[in-house]
Symmetry: D2
Amino acid sequence: MLKAAIVGATGIVGQQFVVALDKHPWIKITTLAASERSAGRTYKEALTDPKTGAFRWYCDEPPSPEVMDIPVQIANDMDVSKVDIVFSAVESDQAQILEPKFAATKAVISTASAFRYEKDVPILIPGINSEHAALLKKQGKERGWKGFITPIPNCTTTGLAITLKPIYDKFGIKMVLMTSMQALSGAGRSPGVIGLDILDNVIPYIVSEEEKVQRETQKILGAFDRGAIEPAQFAVSCTCTRVNVREGHTESVFVATEKKCEPEEVARAMSEYKGFKGVSLPSAPKQMIVVRTDPFRPQPRLDRDTDNGMATVVGRIRKDTALQNGVKYLLVSHNTKMGAARGAVLVAELLIKKGYIA
Amino acid sequence: MLKAAIVGATGIVGQQFVVALDKHPWIKITTLAASERSAGRTYKEALTDPKTGAFRWYCDEPPSPEVMDIPVQIANDMDVSKVDIVFSAVESDQAQILEPKFAATKAVISTASAFRYEKDVPILIPGINSEHAALLKKQGKERGWKGFITPIPNCTTTGLAITLKPIYDKFGIKMVLMTSMQALSGAGRSPGVIGLDILDNVIPYIVSEEEKVQRETQKILGAFDRGAIEPAQFAVSCTCTRVNVREGHTESVFVATEKKCEPEEVARAMSEYKGFKGVSLPSAPKQMIVVRTDPFRPQPRLDRDTDNGMATVVGRIRKDTALQNGVKYLLVSHNTKMGAARGAVLVAELLIKKGYIA
Amino acid sequence: MLKAAIVGATGIVGQQFVVALDKHPWIKITTLAASERSAGRTYKEALTDPKTGAFRWYCDEPPSPEVMDIPVQIANDMDVSKVDIVFSAVESDQAQILEPKFAATKAVISTASAFRYEKDVPILIPGINSEHAALLKKQGKERGWKGFITPIPNCTTTGLAITLKPIYDKFGIKMVLMTSMQALSGAGRSPGVIGLDILDNVIPYIVSEEEKVQRETQKILGAFDRGAIEPAQFAVSCTCTRVNVREGHTESVFVATEKKCEPEEVARAMSEYKGFKGVSLPSAPKQMIVVRTDPFRPQPRLDRDTDNGMATVVGRIRKDTALQNGVKYLLVSHNTKMGAARGAVLVAELLIKKGYIA
Amino acid sequence: MLKAAIVGATGIVGQQFVVALDKHPWIKITTLAASERSAGRTYKEALTDPKTGAFRWYCDEPPSPEVMDIPVQIANDMDVSKVDIVFSAVESDQAQILEPKFAATKAVISTASAFRYEKDVPILIPGINSEHAALLKKQGKERGWKGFITPIPNCTTTGLAITLKPIYDKFGIKMVLMTSMQALSGAGRSPGVIGLDILDNVIPYIVSEEEKVQRETQKILGAFDRGAIEPAQFAVSCTCTRVNVREGHTESVFVATEKKCEPEEVARAMSEYKGFKGVSLPSAPKQMIVVRTDPFRPQPRLDRDTDNGMATVVGRIRKDTALQNGVKYLLVSHNTKMGAARGAVLVAELLIKKGYIA
């Protein structure tokens, strides 16, 4: 069993890591770290409100009893000498400082955006761009680290990049226009989105989100060639909004393709897409993309948990009526499962399997 | 004062007509009609549940006391001899049968889609395609009617067509891709969208909606030439979804323009758009399009009631990053005010002013 | 394996029966019946919308593949000769007609209220008033039936009666005042509660609900003596409201007790309550009542699924500040699991174990 | 015109004061104060997010243009020499420090709870306990202040105390048991209730709320006798919950009365209740209590704005089936209008009319 640390363990993403690693066959949580406020307390104590006694646990699945008594360390001083992997669930500004410290000696898998856009840093989605992992070797060498930093994409990028991949492979892509209807959980809890603002409403703007999705999609679908990622050349344009849904991002996608393509061909390419080519990872979905024919699907509440929240569910694949060669569809992707902690655990599994973490 | 009948008066759209005509300076409700169930009862009685005593009134504004005692006629047998205008708020299949009967002698302004796609029927948005009204003369002549039928657009078309108009005029349009996030009220009440289905959810499909919006937008922005409407030639592609919002459709629009255009130019063209050219109509908004610079606007709850629900509110006008010459923005349009009864009353006002109804 | 029929199988409660009996160790679904509309079609076909292709399945859990091909019979003519149990999920007016027909030869367990208030009909909650089952023998004999009808309580009664039972046993009860905040699923789907009505709202009235809860609570907690149920003598007063929650009824309960009681004693009496006394039933919760000490619990979304939706979760047990001897608390009970199909299956299990069904 | 200062002007309650005083016939806002963060900026600047340009205004009604240019002072150093009234909208801990400073020379009307439970401080609801205002003279004298502090009740107390008053006067009250379903706006915005927590949920606990309502109700309905308030002797027991509603608290009330009372008598006593006895105040509702006979009312969304949010709306008045002499009903009260800023302005109006402020 490999030993893992979670930094930012008391926050909502940290908690999702605790759940994602519960009963994991290869990885065991041995270290937890958070801000100074939690220092000197067990994980259970750190999560309990001292005034009201409320237990501040935000996942649907309960935490495993074994982690409850782990003493919480201060993130700044976390001792990583005894762990094999660090899962980082801190905000981007902290990640900027903390992650290089840990990467000096260990593999760091992060949900933060701090390093996503660096030249020597891949943004991995196992099964989509697994070959980009090779960049990690270069990264370590150039930065003088024994370990590395590998961030996962923004949660809104994940489902988009996954569903574009089989289209890109088969038909080529000229242009992507996407409008997202994102879940509340994507905004976290401090402060998150308050009920007063989202009840009976749509919020048409999510700070920095659109730029991230546009850039990350091109990088993820880019070619890995002579030690570098060449971003895909097609243009991506997004409008990202927030709707009153707890979990599960819905995205309305319009794609102009290079070659002519029929909706049925796209549906088949998606359904048959095999990202893992025989590599078997514990958290991987049976099918990366599940295509539904019921026109009223996908719906976030009904489809987000497909295959444990790890599959991307697509529906309403139609010929586009405006783009020359084009297709349009909707997708639902679980933003706090495949799009966050579980997705990062899947990256760890890939890197273990490929020998990057040992 | 002109006298008006409302057909389908007990339904939610019919009720909105009652509100839209309350204290109207030119039009007075004198006749109400509904299904046989309501026959022989006053409007008040017809709206009162006999079992529970509940008053089935669905508008925020209360009904005016004067209409409460009007006896409700059976729609099929409604006597239109004493009215000048018929506002039709029935479903499309009934409209197919009833509206021609009334149009034989009177002006019929309808929220139903039954006649929208007929060659000799304009879909009017005053201030956008007022000149299409001229087609009504031809319609009456060819069909042997003294009156005419003039439907308003689908509520999702309205905001789209209005905001595209100044872009089309100034920069030309090649292509429009739109994703809507539509309010519950658009689905009506029988059965409407049940709470169980929309809570914590998005519904990605609205039957027939996308086809309507695509076709109507081209027709509304079409040129009126030698007695016929030539639909606009640009392509329109839509994905229409339902979100958990009571009133106000939000639309995310991507537009490829013929000429280069900067977001500021588009904002100015929209803000300065003067549809009415000196024609003053009681229900017309002060500005057809209100452009907001706060990036978190428009929001349906905050913006839908702008100028009594008659203005279309636009925000986040940005250069599109994928289309060659392009712009993207979001809009909020009040689907049951400008997009329904009040919009139909505005059409009536235009036709009165222009002498089509007298 | 016993064979079961479900009447009203295509409705939401019928579907819940399908889920509740999936992989059941003692009972197997062999017969499904619904209205004439579904006749001559398989269960799968009957649930598929012919126009849109949408699959009208309303449970979170998918239906088991085995039931999909069962041909749906017409409820009126359902052949019960080959089944051992009939689960009835029809509306009360149909239950009035259909259930006696089936009860002539078979055990009928019903979610309908039609027979709940008959003298010779028990309203069973296994573990609370299991001894009332004895009345079923008398019922069959007097009515000349080989089978019997045994309805479960209204879903709002269930949690109330369960939590009152240990208080009644230990401290006696003088009076109960309860305000419910009920979930949307309690209203079903046709028409159910529409989103427009419940968004940003509370509906303060549910037709007939309060009378049912008051009467059923007294009957369930009544003594079974010389072949009859003597309703409990304490008064029950309810106000039942609907809130914007999908599943899980929340109830705020004030109880005046005969004897003095401290909140800790009540908490202990509830936690330690053993309804089943060694009888082991597959669907029974491990603990009938789960008491939480976190003052922010129970919450319907967080607690409704406790022990598969079969436990009643209680919190905020406090001394009442107005009643002489009194206690107040909140409870959450899953209205469509313990309060509906699963609760009825639990009744079946009890009756099988006790030999009433064989 | 009297001059008013608002302390805590940039917060949500402060904004509500700005709206409540807009175009007020007797009072004019001349001074605004907030935390140091806002110092040196105009009100408009202080409300504008410097990063995103978003305008942080939370009321449905826009702010009046005149206040936009008022420079915001620091609350701690606010100069009250030129104002006649201070409206305090700060949190309780700040109120503890700031309000006595202002009260040394001026009338302070507060929405904070800091001083509510002091012996020499009345909790005024004009029309319900106007005579308690006499205590303010004593307060000033004993504390050596030229001004005074007079807090309004907790927003949940307001509707309860108002509706109990006519019952108390006519029938006497033995006991009150109340369950509230409170709106999100009652929790404010920092942090308020986040969407993730309240979507599809009820939160069964609001810290300190129940104690406040119990104590304040007794004080407000207490007798003013020989210079002191003798709290009413009847017991009050509450359970306070939060539901997914924006504005408008709903309360389910059970009242045991001293004398027998029929629901019709209670309805009449409420409808006919005249609190103001000929005193005419600009913000007072036409009727303090509006009784509805439709059993589906009151609903927060439909009834909260009755008479500008200043009336308390009551429905479902029924005989209680458990209490000996008793009645039960539901009420809706607008928590951020009558229950907050507008309610405080109404207090100011009463004190101006009675000569306490000049």
